[in-house]
């Protein structure tokens, strides 16, 4: 009885996949390759976290293959003090403060941008940095600030916007850059004693920009395989199979499962545009990971006229996470969302304590919205949270 009820769960997930037969074949292949050893693979892409929870991938994998969610959400890694800085700028006279939607509710030490807006700051949601530039062009009497957030996927778009601002001679536009790069946190995770990993799923969209070469240090220096994966459940299963194949065949390299979209060299044009506009900060603070060298992007001196950090007084105060918040551990993959003491109780999407719950790409939000019911059903039906043999 129990096993047929269990079967129902995996069938329901797998049937949702584009090609259930292929999915079942991949799962069988993964199970065979994994054998009786335990494997832990980390993904560092908010989109992957989302797909994994939404499609119940962890329930489809054998119990000895575990997926760990790393710092793949660029909103989630912004420390509280930096949010306070953004709020301080939004309150400067004459400022129109523009931001992506999911930054609006990220908690600083005294509230979030949405609350600052309620208190009178002119905070506006934008979909694109170009929209922020257009607001500046339309309001020459105001100072428009754009809160730039994101990995290398997003930074080229901010860079192009700055080039457009310069070319059009817009003088009332500035960027508060919180762009980060993918390689340093990967290295920080690999250097961390908290975690024993067997490989990585490489990020999908970041890789369209940076290509595959930047990840070569992972096999070369740390002896772990990395397979860049697409966003369909089948892509993720395929990438996991490729990781296991590497391990079983004694190979250790960077492979590209998402080759239909990601090229080996990435997008050289985008990289050149990035290099024209941004440079690496000596170090940048990441929530949960502390200061990481060469991990943050700031505007080059030639663009200092557009740098909000030079235009405004940024408090720059380091703020420790609230004691109850375990975002740092979730971001490093040391604990799962449901293992956080405040998950689902004090910390929910409506009342988030930490960033992992605020951004829809955050592990906790993704799990809260999609993963909980699958896991609770599995546990209720008397199995562990992943399917056993």
């Amino acid at each position: 009885m129990e096993s047929s009820a269990c079967q129902e769960i995996d069938v329901r997930f797998v049937d949702e996949y584009r090609d259930p037969k292929a999915a079942r074949a991949l799962v069988a292949h993964i199970t065979e390759l994994a054998g009786t050893d335990d494997f832990k693979f980390m993904e560092v892409c908010g989109g992957h976290t989302h797909t994994i929870y939404r499609h119940g991938i962890e329930h489809v994998l054998p119990a000895n293959v575990e997926l760990v969610h790393g710092p793949g959400c660029p909103v989630c890694v912004i420390p509280m003090g930096r949010v306070d800085d953004a709020i301080a700028v939004s309150k400067e006279p004459g400022v129109i403060f523009t931001t992506f939607g999911d930054m609006m509710r990220v908690p600083g030490s005294q509230g979030n941008l949405l609350q600052a807006k309620a208190e009178g700051a002119d905070v506006r949601f934008v979909y694109s940095p170009l929209d922020a530039l257009n607001i500046a062009i339309d309001h020459p009497d105001r100072s428009v600030v754009f809160l730039a957030v994101g990995f290398e996927t997003t930074a080229p778009s901010t860079a192009l916007t700055l080039l457009a601002a310069r070319d059009k001679g817009v003088s009332n536009f500035s960027v508060f850059s919180n762009h980060v790069t993918i390689v340093p946190p990967l290295r920080a995770i690999l250097e961390s004693p908290d975690l024993r990993l067997n490989g990585f799923l490489g990020p999908g969209h970041v890789s369209t920009v940076v290509g595959q070469r930047p990840y070569r240090f992972v096999p070369a220096e740390y002896g772990l395989p990395l397979v860049t994966a697409g966003f369909e459940p089948l892509d993720i299963l395929h990438a996991i199979a490729m990781l296991l194949e590497q391990i079983r065949e004694g190979r250790c390299e960077v492979e590209n499962q998402y080759s239909r979209v990601v090229h080996e060299d990435g997008n050289p044009r985008a990289l050149a545009i990035l290099a024209d506009v941004f440079e690496l900060r000596p170090h940048f603070e990441w929530r949960g990971l502390g200061f990481i060298s060469q991990s943050g992007l700031k505007l080059r001196p030639e663009f200092s006229a557009f740098d909000a950090e030079l235009r405004y007084d940024i408090p720059g105060v380091r703020v420790a996470d609230p004691k109850a918040c375990q975002c740092g551990e979730v971001l490093k993959g040391v604990i799962k969302p449901w293992e956080c003491k405040v998950f689902g109780t004090a910390c929910t999407p409506e009342t988030p304590i930490g960033t992992c719950m605020v951004s829809s790409e955050g592990a906790c939000a993704a799990y809260y919205n999609f993963g909980r019911m699958h896991r609770e059903a599995a546990v209720t039906l008397g199995r562990r949270s992943t399917i056993g043999a």
């Binding site: 949702e16 584009r18 908010g46 989109g47 989302h50 797909t51 939404r54 499609h55 660029p74 992506f100 939607g101 999911d102 949601f125 934008v126 979909y127 694109s128 940095p129 170009l130 929209d131 257009n134 607001i135 062009i137 339309d138 994101g150 996927t153 997003t154 080229p156 778009s157 192009l160 969209h205 369209t208 920009v209 966003f231 369909e232 239909r260 979209v261 990601v262 997008n267 050289p268 044009r269 985008a270 545009i273 951004s359 829809s360 790409e361 919205n369």
Partner: protein, 96 residues
């Protein structure tokens, strides 16, 4: 947010400014294609759109997969689409 939305180019609206009209699920808006300027994009091509910029060229099959995946995500995708369309008007001023 930061999802990649698949869309099909309907027209290169401004070659110099690298702007193109794109159709996403039946609605069109202007996006910036400067990041793909070396790919000689033309009407009919499919791209992945991220914060108002085309970031990768894809084929129609990949676009269908991406759309299906996004639709299963539900609310986050709806929010992304709302954002994409809400600033349609703002993007028009880039043309002038």
């Amino acid at each position: 947010m930061c999802l990649g939305i698949p869309g099909q180019l309907t027209e290169i609206s401004d070659v110099h400014e690298h702007l193109a009209r794109v159709d996403v699920s039946g609605v069109t808006r202007v996006i910036n294609i400067a990041l793909l300027q070396d790919e000689a994009l033309e009407a009919g091509d499919w791209v992945l759109i991220h914060v108002g910029f085309a970031i990768a060229r894809i084929d129609e099959e990949e676009a269908a997969f991406a759309l299906a995946s996004l639709q299963l995500i539900g609310e986050a995708y709806d929010d992304e689409l709302d954002g994409f369309w809400s600033t349609e008007k703002a993007s028009e001023t880039t043309d002038s």
